[in-house]
Amino acid sequence: MTTQRYALALGDDALILAQRLGEWVARAPELEEDVALANIALDLLGQARTLLTYAGELEGAGRDEDALAYWRDDRDFRNVLLVELPNGDFAVTMARQLVFAAYQYELYDRLRGSADETVAAVAGKAVKEVHYHRDHATQWVLRLGDGTDESRRRMVAGLETVWPYVDELFEPFDGADVDPTALREPWTAYVHGVLAEAGLSVPEPTASRRGGRDGLHTEHLGYLLAELQHLHRSHPGATW
C-alpha cells in the first residue's frame, strides 16, 4: 500500500515543477515552445492533482488537492529541491527538464507495476506523458550542446547549475513503492548517453544539496508558494 508521505512527495514534485514551467508561458524563445512548455506543465499539473487527491484520501483527514496545495507552508512540502529552482535561462530549464523527466520516466515505468491500483493507474498514464517530456528535453540538450558556441556555453552552465540537485532524486525513501536508488543506473545510462551525443561532459561531482523530502527547502520555495497560494488564502472557504 502506498504511503501518504510517498504520494505527497511525488505530487509535490509534479506541482512545483508545473508552477515553474507555467512561468515560461508567453516568454518562451519561440511560439512552438510556449505550446510545448505549457503542455508539459499541464501534464505535470494533472499528475499533481491526482496524486495530491490520493494523498488526501490516504491521510483520511478530509483534505483535498486544493487544501494540500494551498494550505501547507514550505516546511510541509515534500518535493525535491531540483523542481523549485528558478527557471534561469532556457538552458537551465532544459537541463532541469532532462534530469527530471529522465528520472520520472524510470520511476513511472516501474510504478506501473505497483500493487496499489491508483498509483499504477497514474503511472500508466504519466509514463506516456513523461516519455514526451524526456524526448523534448533531449532534443533541446542536443541542439543547445551542439548548436553555437554561446548555446554550448550556456548548456554547460545549465548542467552545472542543476547537477548538485541530482543525488537527492535517488535517495532512499521509507515506504516508497519503488526504491529510488534502483532508478539511478538506468537514469545514468540515458542521461549520460544524451550528453555524449551532444558532445557535453558529465559535470564534475560537487557537494550535493538535499533536504526537500524532509521539508528543508531552498529560499526559492517560499516565494513560489506565496504567489501560488495568496489568492486562495485571501478567501478562506471560497469555491472557485
Binding site: 508561458v25 516568454r27 510556449d34 505549457a38 499539473l45 496545495a69 554561446e150 504567489e227 489568492l231 472557485w240
Partner: protein, 324 residues
C-alpha cells in the same frame, strides 16, 4: 488594349468570379495585390492579438485560485499560442514569413487588438476576458469561417470551436464567483464594469449610417473578407450578452441599456471611440508593457533559435556527407 492588360483583366475577372460565387481563393490562385496585402495585415493582426493576448491571462496562471482553474487557464493560454501558430502559417501562404511579421509587430508597424492593452487586475478579469473578449472575438470571427481566402477560413473554423469553449469556461468561472461570497461577486461586477466598454470597442469604430469613418469595410466586403459591418456585429454581441449577464446576476454598466421592441434589439451606449483611438495609437494602460514583454521574450530567445538553426545545418551537412 495591350496584351498584358488583357491578361490582368482576365485574371481579375477570374478572381471576382470565385469571390462572387462564394468560392474560396487558394494560395496558388491569382489575386489582386491589394487583396493580398489587406489579408496579410488582417491575418497578422489577428495572429499578433493571439500571442499578445497570452500575457494578460498568463498573468494569472501562477496565482489561479484552485488547481482545476490553473489547469483550465494553462490549457486556454496554450490554445492561444496554437491559434497564433495557425494564423502565422495562414499568413505565410501569402508570401510573408513569421519572422517578418513578428518584426513588424515588434517595430510597431503592425497592430494587435487594443483590448489587450488593458490590465488584468483581479482573478475575475480572467473570467471576464473569456466571457466578453472571447465572446466578442467569436462574434467577429464566426463570419470569417466563410471568408474568401481558403487558408484563413479553415484556420478560423478550428479557432472558433476553441474560442467558443473558452467563452463558456469564462462564463462558468464568473458564474461560480457570482454564486460565491460577497467579495467574489463584487470582484465579478468590478471586472464587468472595467471590461464592458473596451469589449464593445473591439468591433472597431462605427462604419454604417452617417458615421462611416473612411475605413476598409466596403472594400473588404467586396472581397469577401468581411461579411458584416462593425455596427452589426457589435449589436449582435450586445444582444447575445445581455441575457447572459442576467443569468450571472451582474449589472452591465450602462444606464441606457434597454430592449427596443421596434428594432428587435437592445439599445445601448456606444463605447468611447476617442479612447479606442488613443489606445490604438499607443496610449493605453499596458501598450508599452505588452510590447516590451514580447520584444524581451523574443530577444532573450534569439540565442536559442540561432542554436536550433546551427544544429539543423550541422545535421544536414552530416547527412549529406553520409550520402556522398
Amino acid at each position: 488594349m495591350a496584351p498584358t492588360d488583357q491578361r490582368t483583366d482576365d485574371r481579375e475577372a477570374a478572381f471576382y468570379a470565385i469571390v462572387d460565387s462564394d468560392g474560396r481563393i487558394e494560395p496558388r490562385d491569382d489575386m489582386p495585390e491589394a487583396y493580398r496585402r489587406t489579408l496579410i495585415r488582417q491575418i497578422a493582426q489577428h495572429a499578433h492579438s493571439e500571442i499578445i493576448g497570452m500575457q494578460p491571462e498568463g498573468n494569472w496562471i501562477s496565482r489561479a485560485p484552485s488547481l482545476r482553474r490553473k489547469a483550465i487557464l494553462l490549457a486556454k493560454v496554450q490554445d492561444e499560442a496554437g491559434h497564433g501558430l495557425y494564423l502565422y502559417a495562414a499568413a505565410e501562404t501569402l508570401g510573408v514569413s513569421r519572422d517578418q511579421l513578428l518584426d513588424l509587430l515588434h517595430t510597431r508597424k503592425q497592430k494587435y487588438s487594443s483590448i489587450f492593452n488593458y490590465p488584468t487586475l483581479t482573478w475575475a478579469d480572467v473570467g471576464a476576458i473569456g466571457w466578453l473578449v472571447d465572446g466578442a472575438a467569436i462574434t467577429n470571427q464566426v463570419p470569417l469561417t466563410r471568408c474568401s481566402y481558403g487558408p484563413y477560413a479553415r484556420a478560423m473554423v478550428r479557432i472558433c470551436k476553441e474560442e467558443s469553449f473558452h467563452q463558456r469556461q469564462g462564463f462558468e468561472s464568473l458564474l461560480t464567483l457570482t454564486r460565491g461570497s460577497a467579495a467574489q461577486k463584487a470582484m465579478a461586477q468590478d471586472a464587468l464594469d472595467r471590461w464592458w466598454y473596451p469589449s464593445l470597442a473591439m468591433f472597431g469604430p462605427p462604419d454604417t449610417g452617417e458615421q462611416v469613418s473612411g475605413g476598409h469595410t466596403e472594400q473588404s466586403m467586396r472581397w469577401g473578407i468581411k461579411r458584416f459591418s462593425n455596427d452589426e456585429l457589435r449589436q449582435r454581441f450586445v444582444d447575445m450578452t445581455v441575457p447572459q449577464s442576467e443569468v450571472l446576476g451582474l449589472t452591465i454598466p450602462d444606464p441606457d441599456l434597454r430592449w427596443n421592441d421596434e428594432r428587435g434589439h437592445y439599445d445601448f451606449t456606444a463605447p468611447d471611440y476617442d479612447e479606442l483611438f488613443r489606445v490604438i495609437k499607443g496610449d493605453g494602460p499596458c501598450n508599452e508593457q505588452r510590447l516590451r514583454h514580447r520584444v524581451e521574450a523574443h530577444e532573450d530567445g534569439a540565442w536559442v533559435r540561432e542554436a536550433a538553426g546551427a544544429y539543423a545545418a550541422k545535421q544536414q551537412a552530416k547527412r549529406a556527407e553520409a550520402a556522398a
